[in-house]
C-alpha cells in the first residue's frame, strides 16, 4: 500500500520513546503511522467517541507516544480554525471533542427545532458554585457559606450528575463530602477545574474597592 510506504519515511520521529503504561507484550505490534494518518485517526476516533477522549486514550489505542497525539491534535485545532469550519475541535473535561461553534447556534437550533434546555435555579447554581470552589465540601460547610439550608439543591445537583460524593469527612457524624463531576466540566465548557476563575477575582465585585 502506498500509504504504508509513505508512513515509513516519517516514522522515525514519531516513535521516539515509546513509553506505554500497558504491559510489555502489547507493544509487540507497534505499527508505523505517519503524521497525517495519526491526525486522521485521532480525528475519526474523537468523532465516534460519545464523550470527550483524552490524548492518552488515543495514544494507547493506536500505540504511539502521547506527545505525538498531542501534536497531531494541536495541528488539527489550527486546521479547523484556518478553514473556518462550522465545527471546532476543543479540549473539554480532560479530553477532546468535536462540536459546533457557538456562532451558528441560531441556525442549528432552528434546524433541530430545539430550545435551550431549562437550566439550574439560582439556588442550585449558588450551591454548585460553593461546591466547585470549596470541594471537597460537606453539607454543613455549604450551609455555613450560603447561610441557608441547601439539601434539595444538593439533591438536584446529584440527580443532574453535576456533583459526586467524594468520601466522608473524618469529623463528628462523618458527613459525606461533595465535589464536581466530569459532567460539570462538560456542561460548563471547562477543560479542568483550574480553568475556573479564582474565587478571589470576585472580590472586587463583592466588596468593591475601598474608595
Amino acid at each position: 500500500m502506498s500509504k504504508a510506504a509513505k508512513a515509513t519515511e516519517i516514522e522515525i520521529e514519531t516513535e521516539v520513546e515509546v513509553e506505554l503504561q500497558s504491559p510489555a507484550d502489547e507493544i509487540e505490534g507497534v505499527r508505523e503511522i505517519g503524521d497525517a494518518e495519526l491526525k486522521a485517526i485521532a480525528e475519526a476516533m474523537i468523532f465516534v467517541a460519545d464523550e470527550p477522549v483524552s490524548a492518552k486514550t488515543i495514544a494507547d489505542v493506536i500505540k504511539v507516544d502521547r506527545t505525538a497525539i498531542e501534536k497531531a491534535l494541536g495541528d488539527l485545532v489550527l486546521e479547523y480554525d484556518a478553514r473556518n469550519s462550522g465545527l471546532q475541535l476543543r479540549e473539554i473535561a480532560a479530553g477532546w471533542q468535536i462540536a459546533t461553534r457557538p456562532e451558528h447556534h441560531e441556525q442549528i437550533r432552528a434546524y433541530l427545532k430545539s430550545r435551550p434546555s431549562a437550566k439550574l435555579s439560582l439556588a442550585s447554581l449558588e450551591t454548585l458554585a460553593v461546591i466547585a470552589y470549596k470541594q471537597p465540601v460537606t453539607v454543613p460547610e455549604i450551609l455555613e457559606i450560603r447561610g441557608v439550608q441547601s439539601p434539595s439543591a444538593i439533591k438536584t445537583l446529584l440527580d443532574k450528575r453535576l456533583i459526586v460524593a467524594k468520601g466522608r469527612k473524618e469529623t463528628v457524624g462523618r458527613p459525606m463530602m461533595y465535589g464536581t463531576s466530569k459532567d460539570f466540566l462538560i456542561q460548563f465548557g471547562l477543560k479542568d477545574l483550574s480553568e475556573l476563575p479564582s474565587i478571589e477575582d470576585f472580590q472586587d465585585l463583592a466588596g468593591g474597592s475601598e474608595s
Binding site: 449558588e126 458554585a129 441557608v148 446529584l158 465548557g189
Partner: protein
C-alpha cells in the same frame, strides 16, 4: 446569642412595623423592591424570594446604600426585622435560617451599644461586625461565581455535539456514580417490598380455611374477640370471608356471640355448657 429565642424576635417585629407608613404590598416571584408608588406618597413593596438571610441582608445594605465595611447595624437590623414581619404578615413561611440571623443581628446591635474598653489599644479593638461582613462578602463572591457559571452554561448551550450514531448504541450503558448505587439499591428494596405485598394479596383464604381458622381460635382460647378476628384480615375480600364464616358457624350453632354490655366487645364462644345466645 443562641439564647435569643425566635419568639422574642417575632414579638419585637410588629412594634417596628407600626412605625411604618401605609404600604401597598404585592408579592412577586421576583427580587423585592421598595419604590414610590406613582405620585402618592405610599411605598410599594414587592416581596421576593430571598435565597436566605445573607441574601436579604445584602439586599438591604444595597437598598439603604450603606458601606458594607461600615454597616449601620441598628438601622439594618430594624429593616431586616421589618422584612421578617412583612413576610409573616403575608403568611410567607419564615424559615429558621432567617430567624437565626435576626437573633444574631439583635445581639450585634446590643454589642455595638456597649462602651468600648477605654484601656484597649485602638488596633486591638475587634469590630463586632467583622464576622458578619466577612460572611456577607464571602456570600457575595459565591453569588458572583454562580453568575459566572450561569453565563458559561449559556455559552455551552450554543455548542452542539453530534447526534447519536450507530456505535453509541452498541454501548447502551449508563454512567455510574456512587449515589447511583444507593439509589438503585433502594429501588430494588422498594420493588421487593411491593412484590411481597402482592404475594400476600394473592394468597386468598378460602371460606373453608377461614371457618377452620375461627373454629380453632375459639376452641383453643375458649372465646375470641370478633374485632381481633376481623383485624387479622389483610384485604377487604378476606374481611368479607371472615364475616361470612362467623355467620356460618353461628348458623351451624358451633359458636355463640356474646356482648356483655351495650357497645362492648362482641365475643365468639364455643356453644357448650352455658349455651347462652343472643
Amino acid at each position: 446569642m443562641e439564647d435569643t429565642s425566635p419568639n422574642e424576635i417575632a414579638t419585637s417585629a410588629p412594634a417596628e412595623a407600626q412605625v411604618e407608613p401605609a404600604q401597598t404590598i404585592s408579592v412577586a416571584n421576583s427580587r423585592p423592591e421598595i419604590a414610590p408608588d406613582g405620585d402618592t406618597d405610599q411605598l410599594k413593596i414587592t416581596m421576593g424570594d430571598f435565597e436566605g438571610p445573607l441574601d436579604l441582608l445584602l439586599y438591604l445594605i444595597r437598598q439603604e446604600q450603606v458601606n458594607i465595611y461600615d454597616i449601620p447595624i441598628a438601622r439594618i437590623t430594624d429593616e431586616y426585622l421589618r422584612y421578617l414581619n412583612l413576610m409573616q404578615e403575608l403568611d410567607l413561611t419564615v424559615a429558621g435560617d432567617f430567624l437565626v440571623m435576626a437573633a444574631q443581628l439583635i445581639e450585634l446591635k446590643s454589642r455595638m451599644l456597649l462602651p468600648r474598653d477605654p484601656l484597649a489599644v485602638e488596633e486591638e479593638i475587634l469590630d463586632p461586625r467583622a464576622e458578619l461582613v466577612d460572611r456577607l462578602l464571602e456570600h457575595e463572591k459565591f453569588k458572583a461565581a454562580a453568575e459566572m457559571l450561569w453565563s458559561r452554561a449559556t455559552v455551552e448551550q450554543a455548542v452542539f455535539k453530534r447526534a447519536e450514531i450507530e456505535t453509541d448504541k452498541n454501548n447502551p450503558e449508563v454512567t455510574v456514580g456512587l449515589f447511583d448505587l444507593l439509589r438503585v439499591f433502594q429501588e430494588i428494596l422498594a420493588r421487593q417490598k411491593e412484590e411481597i405485598l402482592l404475594e400476600i394479596e394473592r394468597e386468598e383464604v378460602s371460606m373453608a380455611e377461614m371457618i377452620d381458622r375461627l373454629r380453632n381460635m375459639v376452641r383453643s382460647a375458649g372465646e375470641v374477640n370478633l374485632k381481633t378476628f376481623f383485624e387479622r384480615s389483610k384485604s377487604r375480600r378476606e374481611l368479607v370471608v371472615a364475616f361470612l364464616s362467623v355467620l356460618e358457624l353461628v348458623r351451624m350453632s358451633e359458636i355463640a356471640l356474646v356482648q356483655s354490655e351495650t357497645f362492648g366487645a362482641i365475643m365468639a364462644r364455643t356453644v357448650g355448657a352455658e349455651g347462652q345466645e343472643i
